[in-house]
């Protein structure tokens, strides 16, 4: 998912990391840093050797990302349920400034959807037709009580468009991530459970 985003979807480079018209990627499930840091290094946002000292006393790379320490990181995260609210605010801020081109992508986990703060953001974004927002749910079936009907139903009932795809199929992910509706927020549910089809 992260590679497809940074390699094929997000319009952002180390040179445009502060461009107000860049796309934003917000990692809400902040514990997923290993792949995140690796992708950022591969794309030139941070030097490779930083990866060798994650969590060290002089390292900029913690077990959760800090936007003030790591180039290219849009939000500090770790406590679950914060990224989507910040993403809604970011999308609203871009809209208020007439920046209609950039898009905001927020990556969450299916268990993270347990946090009620996500429901606040999902309901509001759907009700107000926040068109420049895409949520991505990495669904590895880790929510203790599951989501009957699939994680996407939490979004579609609130007016979002949704695509549920195989989380390891790069082309399917690309199609889902770029297939958003011009009038509604969009969610991509990427199912990654071994041996289970979406």
């Amino acid at each position: 998912m992260l590679w497809v985003l940074y390699d094929r979807v997000l319009r952002i480079t180390p040179e445009t990391a502060d461009d107000p018209d860049r796309d934003r990627f917000l990692l809400s499930k902040g514990h997923a840093v290993a792949g995140y840091y690796a992708v950022l290094a591969a794309k030139g946002f941070l030097p490779d050797h930083w990866l060798d000292d994650q969590g060290g006393p002089d390292s900029r790379l913690g077990d959760h990302p800090d936007r003030l320490l790591v180039p290219g990181v849009e939000i500090g995260s770790g406590s679950l349920g914060h990224g989507l609210g910040l993403g809604v605010g970011t999308a609203l801020g871009l809209r208020a400034q007439g920046r209609t081109d950039p898009r905001v992508y927020v990556l969450l986990g299916d268990a993270e959807l347990d946090e009620g703060s996500n429901h606040e953001a999902i309901a509001y974004a759907g009700a107000t037709g926040l068109v420049n927002l895409t949520a991505i749910v990495l669904d590895n079936r880790s929510a203790s009580h599951g989501w009957p009907g699939g994680a996407a139903s939490r979004f579609t009932v609130n007016g979002w468009t949704a695509a549920t795809v195989d989380g390891r199929d790069h082309d399917a992910l690309h199609t889902a991530l770029t297939g958003h509706d011009p009038h509604r927020p969009h969610v991509v549910v990427a199912v990654v459970t071994d041996g289970e089809q979406p």
Partner: protein, 298 residues
């Protein structure tokens, strides 16, 4: 104060395209005219206080200056983790404007009381806290807070003094009892009661609407060996600051404010002021006891 805030904020929205107001239904009707003029910068998220602060954080990350407003217990207590993480941890600054204070709507019960809000904000770093004591102080404080680039909390209340003391928030001597006199520091709307309480005592009374950052230099200049602190929120909230400021000199400190115990009583704000000993008679009893202890020792 609430009406002054709405009027002033409505003006700021027109003057400064950087500003945005985020609401959680509270005061939404009053901001409706502004929302019609600035639909992308007056945002009512509904009764969703976590999102209220999350949205403020996101707006700030795009370069806007958000002002988030709601009832104090919902704005500060319910959304505290969002204040800590979606604002502070992100390096995203906002202005929070609360109403309700410690017990403005005492008849509504514990759910609508917020005596600990300033203490919660005080657990964070670098915040400015304003506790105006009169509606006439609100507009300049709001304008200054919005113009600044740091985070601020404006704690509005229906409790008020008879006159306004605008200004930056440094300690302002309202009654001078001369060098060495006991110093009473009154924060926000407790000033009138404090003045009445010590009217016939040799006590200097100083006022501030800005408990954070506290005017440490002013305190050191005014304080003798006895200091009485009267705050309209949780008792002792600023005791740490006063103690640190006077750590190099012998002193005694009496910290008065709203008690920690849940009273489980309704009534009016005036009733609660009396029950917490913050009316003139209650303050006088506390000050007499404090100074009486001094007489007994000497």
């Amino acid at each position: 104060m609430r009406e002054t805030f709405i009027d002033t904020m409505t003006g700021l929205l027109a003057e400064d395209p950087r500003t945005a107001v985020v609401l959680a239904d509270i005061s939404a009707a009053s901001f409706a005219p502004a929302a019609r003029r600035h639909p992308d910068r007056v945002l009512n998220v509904g009764i969703r206080e976590q999102l209220l602060i999350g949205v403020a954080g996101g707006l700030a990350l795009t370069g806007l200056r958000p002002v988030a407003h709601s009832y104090a217990p919902f704005l500060i207590e319910r959304a505290y983790e969002q204040i800590k993480l979606d604002l502070d941890h992100q390096g995203a600054e906002a202005v929070l404007v609360g109403i309700g204070a410690s017990y403005d709507r005492a008849e509504a019960g514990r759910t609508h009381l917020s005596p600990a809000d300033v203490a919660l904000i005080d657990s964070l770093h670098g915040w400015t806290v304003h506790v105006p004591g009169h509606p006439g102080e609100v507009a300049p404080l709001l304008r200054a807070a919005v113009a600044a680039d740091s985070s601020a909390y404006l704690r509005l209340s229906t409790q008020r003094n008879t006159r306004a003391y605008p200004g930056g928030g440094d300690l302002r001597v309202v009654r001078d009892a001369g060098p060495g006199a006991t110093l009473l520091v009154a924060v926000g709307p407790v000033l009138d009661a404090a003045l009445a309480a010590v009217a016939d005592l040799p006590v200097t009374v100083a006022y501030t609407h800005r408990p954070r950052p506290f005017d440490v230099a002013g305190l050191r200049a005014l304080a003798g060996t006895e200091v009485v602190l009267v705050e309209p929120y949780l008792a002792g909230t600023s005791a740490r600051v006063v103690s640190e400021a006077l750590a190099d000199r012998p002193h005694r400190l009496l910290s008065l404010g709203v008690g920690r115990a849940e009273l489980r009583r309704y009534g009016t704000a005036e009733d609660h002021t009396r029950w917490h000993g913050l009316d003139a008679a209650g303050l006088r009893r506390s000050v007499d006891s404090f100074l009486g202890e001094l007489s007994a020792v000497s």
